[in-house]
Symmetry: C2
Subunit: 235 residues, 2 copies
Amino acid sequence: MSSEKLKIAVLGGTGNIGEGMVLRLALQNLMAEGVKNEVIIGSRSKETANEAAKEAISELENCGFDTSKITITGNSNHEAAQAAEVIILTIRFGHVLPLLHEIREALEDKILITPVVPMVKEGDLFVYKPPEEGSAALAIQKNVPASTKVVAAFHNIPAGKLRDIVKCKAVHHALVCSDDVEAKKMVINLTEHMGCMKPLDGGPLKQASIMESLTPLLINLAKLNGLRDLGINFS
Amino acid sequence: MSSEKLKIAVLGGTGNIGEGMVLRLALQNLMAEGVKNEVIIGSRSKETANEAAKEAISELENCGFDTSKITITGNSNHEAAQAAEVIILTIRFGHVLPLLHEIREALEDKILITPVVPMVKEGDLFVYKPPEEGSAALAIQKNVPASTKVVAAFHNIPAGKLRDIVKCKAVHHALVCSDDVEAKKMVINLTEHMGCMKPLDGGPLKQASIMESLTPLLINLAKLNGLRDLGINFS
């Protein structure tokens, strides 16, 4: 890694899942075992990203955390990706490929994490609708430089629990897939200190379609059975 | 229902998942709330089925259960299906469609439960390989009479835990899908008293592909992470 602290860009870090990711990544700096990092929120507008970064810091302060060891900044998606070693795509599938095209040169040699789930609503329920490559993960891999290490992770963690950094006591399994063994190990390590996730090795990237399809399943099960914010545990 | 006790045929009841199903269905006759039933094991040969029925009864006796209220018999797949109101297909996908063709007339107006998972081994891992209909469940529905009520269930319960009627204390979620609301309710009720399963409404039959794809995921996760006999819980 090029710096002592790992630089992590959360593109779409102003969205639902993105907000929780930013807070939980930042909090690792306060943990004995956490992965020390600087978080860069990426957004289409630098101003929105900056605003979100300030709000994240205030939220951590309001929760009583010591933010002196925490760095959260904001920038455009391209600048954020450029500055980072690890990039997390917390963006809807429909916007992902155009964005990758736009920031392509900033992705060389980086670890790119995709929690992206291509799904559509049909009637009351969601249906998994992967692109022709078989999954969002494989479509993403096809649209980045060969040196980019694509890791599929964080699909099945409910946004509400991820966001709830103080009260959420749930710990759910988080599957991590990649064809790059080192990148997968790094993301598994990052996941271990997220506070509400217990990582499991999900195998090669081609297995990501099953992980992606679990997200509409979780949403549908919640709706059909009067539950909410469902996560998964394997035992 | 045509009799006081529900007649349930377990086709392929001499196999791995089939054996556990037979024992756990039979044990419901000893429960206050269980669905009272007669189990008919179906197999290609009547003799094999009969033998399996006798072994199941002895196993229950050896475990100390009072078998006076339990009926387990064996027959050919066709005769077993003919006699039953509910038919469970604990058979490999490759053998399912030819069997359905053979026993088609015995399926009229019946509830047909499919835990069938079409999957293949690629290298060390299993890959979900659904037929062109999108899932085994939808392919099965296409190959039975219109009056047959197809219910997808019991895909994600590890055979080892299902089979271990005495020591297994695990309770995993079991998803149940069907387009027939009454048949789904009946199977949910049956599942509730299986001893190691907690049913969840999985929605219409078209959702079965996700449930089916979870089985190779569970096998792969166990292999990749040094675990075994994995089941799923949603919370």
